[in-house]
């Protein structure tokens, strides 16, 4: 299959299953673009998601833009973004009436009662697999990396700071702390 077609199919699938939105979609994208297609290295994908999380907008669409741009430039970015958004558009065009009629139906409510913890498990899995690649699970991570994680978590959980601001702080702090590792000697 040509690359652009593969990109379209991949993100159409992401668009169809993106219930609960947001970070629950990361394992899906990760599995398809890294584990199956080997388009990027595992750690590259974290960096792409980090950049995608700094921008406003749905995380799945942002990730699609990052992946599409890296593979096929600006055209690829739009192709991937449209592919991820089109399934919900069509679902609504076809089923809008039914959605309004049945979203309070007990059976639908029961289905979501089961689906929501699945979404929660998927998000924890996304966090755990990213943590593993950072060495946070195996103890390979440095104390500073662990500290960055803990401080960021406390800021997200315990303060009303805008998440983008917390990410910005972490990036700036990282620039000072880690710069000696990356500067040529």
């Amino acid at each position: 299959m040509p690359l652009f077609l593969l990109l379209i199919v991949t993100f159409l699938i992401v668009g169809i299953v993106s219930f609960g939105g947001g970070y629950a979609m990361l394992p899906v994208i990760d599995h398809m673009v890294v584990t199956e297609e080997h388009w990027f290295r595992e750690t590259d994908f974290i960096d792409m998601i980090a950049v995608a999380s700094m921008a406003p907008g749905p995380i799945a669409v942002n990730a699609a833009v990052m992946v599409g741009y890296r593979l096929l430039g600006v055209g690829g970015a739009f192709l991937a973004a449209v592919s991820v958004a089109v399934p919900s558009l069509f679902l609504i065009l076809i089923f809008a009436r039914a959605f309004f009629k049945y979203h309070r139906h007990p059976r639908v409510a029961a289905a979501f009662y089961v689906l929501r913890p699945v979404i929660a498990g998927m998000i924890f899995y996304a966090a755990a697999s990213f943590a593993r690649r950072n060495g946070l699970l195996s103890g390979e991570a440095s104390w500073t990396t662990l500290l960055f994680f803990l401080v960021a978590f406390v800021l997200f959980a315990r303060t009303k700071l805008h998440p983008a601001l917390v990410l910005l702080f972490s990036g700036v702090a990282g620039m000072f702390v880690y710069l000696p590792h990356y500067l040529p000697h």
């Binding site: 679902l91 309070r104 007990p106 029961a110 929660a120």
Partner: protein, 214 residues
């Protein structure tokens, strides 16, 4: 009773649309929706819940495209459809007010600004990622992203897990992904199927024991 309630709500949403759209026309309605959703699009961050009050002001007070009580319904339905809640609200209200044209334009408005912002960031990042300053910044960001996702999981779990059944489902989901490396799409489809089965079971139980009417 549930059906009457649903019909009343459906009619209410359709009703508000009609007068307003007749007044300014389909194209201008669709264009106004494009602009309204494009304007608030850069405010949507992560889940997009922060944008609800702003969107309410725009749609209800400014344009009178919807009544205040309809907004709750719009968001409830938007959550039941795959995809971003904010974008889905745009598609739903666009379709209600101006058909396919309205749906497409409102959706495009909800997405275009953030896609462009993301594209600029992507171009910058790809161009600068070998720079040592950028590399050091990313090293600080990586653990923060793990924290961001972990906290998102905690927040979802707080509303999703309310007992041993839902807790067990979350743990099993994590387990089959992390230890058995099952395909995540399969896991979601499995969750939907299980949900429908539980829904069916709930229904038969209710038929046998009709204790209350919803």
């Amino acid at each position: 009773m549930a059906r009457e309630e649903a019909q009343r709500r459906t009619k209410a949403v359709a009703g508000a649309s009609e007068e307003r759209v007749r007044h300014i026309g389909r194209w201008r309605t669709a264009w106004a929706l494009f602009l309204a959703f494009a304007k608030l699009s850069p405010v949507t961050f992560g889940g997009g819940f922060a944008v609800i009050p702003l969107l309410e002001r725009e749609l209800v007070d400014r344009h009178r495209f919807a009544r205040r009580e309809e907004i709750v319904d719009l968001f409830a339905v938007a959550q039941a459809v795959p995809g971003s809640i904010y974008v889905n609200v745009g598609t739903l209200i666009g379709y209600r007010l101006a058909g396919v044209l309205g749906a497409v334009l409102a959706t495009a408005g909800a997405l275009l600004p953030t896609i462009l912002i993301m594209l600029v960031l992507a171009v910058l990042y790809e161009g600068l990622k070998a720079n040592p300053y950028v590399e050091a910044t990313m090293a600080g960001l990586r653990p923060a992203i793990v924290a961001l996702i972990a906290y998102a999981g905690v927040r979802v779990a707080k509303t999703a897990v309310d007992g041993w059944l839902t807790g067990g489902i979350a743990v099993v989901t994590f387990g089959v992904l992390f230890f058995l490396h099952l395909h995540p799409v399969l896991v979601i489809v499995g969750g939907i199927v299980l949900g429908l089965v539980v829904g069916q079971w709930e229904k038969t139980r209710r038929v046998r024991k009709p204790t209350r009417v919803r």
